[in-house]
């Protein structure tokens, strides 16, 4: 090794410098992740997946033997909830028929919501204390691009893709400080901006800013994406209002939101690669 370095050390350094400059130029020209970041993560990806698989297997075994009392109680509560929802579905079917009749009478375009999903597994949760991120096992090879929304199986928003590599992508969750989304309160239709706040990130909460001073929010109000601007689809559930507070100026209020998603419990998510919404 020493002899090799003695004879070829300068050439090795020269080659490293040339490669570094070439990679830097390629990074500038790339519109997804830089080649070095991509290469580092492509190499790490199988190890991440293997480690996550082992950890998940152990967690599953541990959970299997947990007390079933909690599950029985949850089951009873879910049965009650299903009965309520069945009643709501029956009402919704009659409303839908009425809506279709009225649309036909008024000659309105039919509402449509179409999403193209890509299912992905989480291979890594947050790796620093200063960001809230997830790494997924799918990337540009599967059609995922920066800015795509990521949801869970209940259609609740998890976050937005911030970097996409060949077979991996990084998602900044909705509580991360770099995340900012147009939002709307479902009940009052008030518009605001849902954004991560560093002081709240650790508690997995986010802020709903720029609300009108006279907004009448209540704790528990559902907040979803507004879809304004067309960057993100509308109607994805962000979370619910936990409390409403006035800002320092006293001219506007903001709400603290509790996300619908429990980030620690997530294992599988769905990336919205494309959407078409007509309202």
């Amino acid at each position: 090794m020493k002899d090799f370095l003695k004879h070829h050390g300068l050439w090795v350094l020269f080659a490293a410098a040339v490669i570094a400059v070439a990679l830097a130029v390629m990074s500038l020209l790339s519109n997804t992740s830089s080649p070095l970041v991509n290469a580092a993560n492509v190499l790490a990806s199988p190890f991440r997946s293997a480690y996550t698989a082992v950890a998940t297997w152990f967690n599953d075994k541990q959970n299997y033997y947990k007390d079933t009392t909690a599950l029985e109680e949850e089951n009873a509560a879910l049965r009650r909830r299903i009965a309520e929802m069945e009643e709501e579905v029956r009402q919704a079917e009659s409303d839908r028929a009425e809506n279709a009749r009225l649309r036909e009478l008024l000659n309105l375009t039919e509402q449509r919501r179409e999403f193209t999903y890509e299912a992905a597994y989480i291979t890594e949760h947050a790796v620093t204390n200063w960001t809230s991120s997830l790494t997924l096992n799918k990337g540009t090879a599967h059609g995922i691009a920066v800015g795509d929304c990521v949801v869970d199986e209940t259609h609740a928003l998890v976050g937005v893709v911030s970097v996409a590599g060949t077979n991996w992508c990084t998602v900044l969750t909705i509580v991360d400080t770099d995340t900012s989304l147009g939002a709307q309160v479902f009940r009052t239709k008030d518009l605001g901006l849902a954004q991560g706040d560093f002081s709240l990130m650790e508690e997995e909460r986010l802020r709903l800013d720029y609300l009108p001073a006279d907004c009448q929010l209540l704790a528990g109000d559902l907040v979803e994406t507004s879809g304004l601007g067309g960057f993100y689809p509308s109607g994805l559930v962000i979370g619910s209002v936990e409390s409403v507070q006035m800002d320092d100026s006293g001219a506007a209020s903001y709400a603290i939101l509790a996300p619908q998603v429990d980030f620690d419990e997530l294992t599988e998510v769905f990336v919205i690669k494309d959407f078409d919404i007509v309202t």
Binding site: M1, K2, D3, L5, K6, G9, L10, V12, L13, L36, V37, A40, N41, A44, Y51, A55, A126, V127, T128, N129, W130, T131, S133, T135, S162, V163, T170, L172, D176, T177, D178, D197, F198, S199, E202
Partner: protein
Amino acid sequence: MLARNETIFKWALYAAAAFACLLIQWAVLQRFTIWGVIPFLYPAVAAVPATFEGPAAGSAFALGMGVVCDLILPGSDCFYTLVFPLAGLCAGLLSRSVLRSSMLCALVSTAAAFALTGFGGCLELWLHGQSAWQAGAYLTLREFCVTAPPALLLSPLFRAVYQRTHRDERAAEQRRFYGP
């Protein structure tokens, strides 16, 4: 003064030791949350070698470490590339002028590296319109407290690398001091 091939060998050994630390961080430390934070070894890995190698070489090593961190950590852009050389410089100056290279010196250097990283993080948030100095300071304090025990082990690791690669230099010094 080390020959060119010995210098390359030395930094290859340092890089291997740092890589081992990155593996431990990735495979073990970042899977745990203690006092609400993940132990974060990277600032210590950037700072501790500088306590042996001095400000100039230490800063260069920390710069490399910063580049690696920016490659593997999400949402950091070139944050660590900017902050870690400062941490290396501080650690190098500290070991040359205030404390001799020791575990205490490694601990103080690690504290300084965390302080710089925390300050940089808060500054970045402030530049993005979020004032989070208090929350950032509290997070940095907790990060340092939970990382200090594993970081202490870095001192013997990098000392071993230093002693292995400066053996001839130390022998020459001893000969000069004690005679042939």
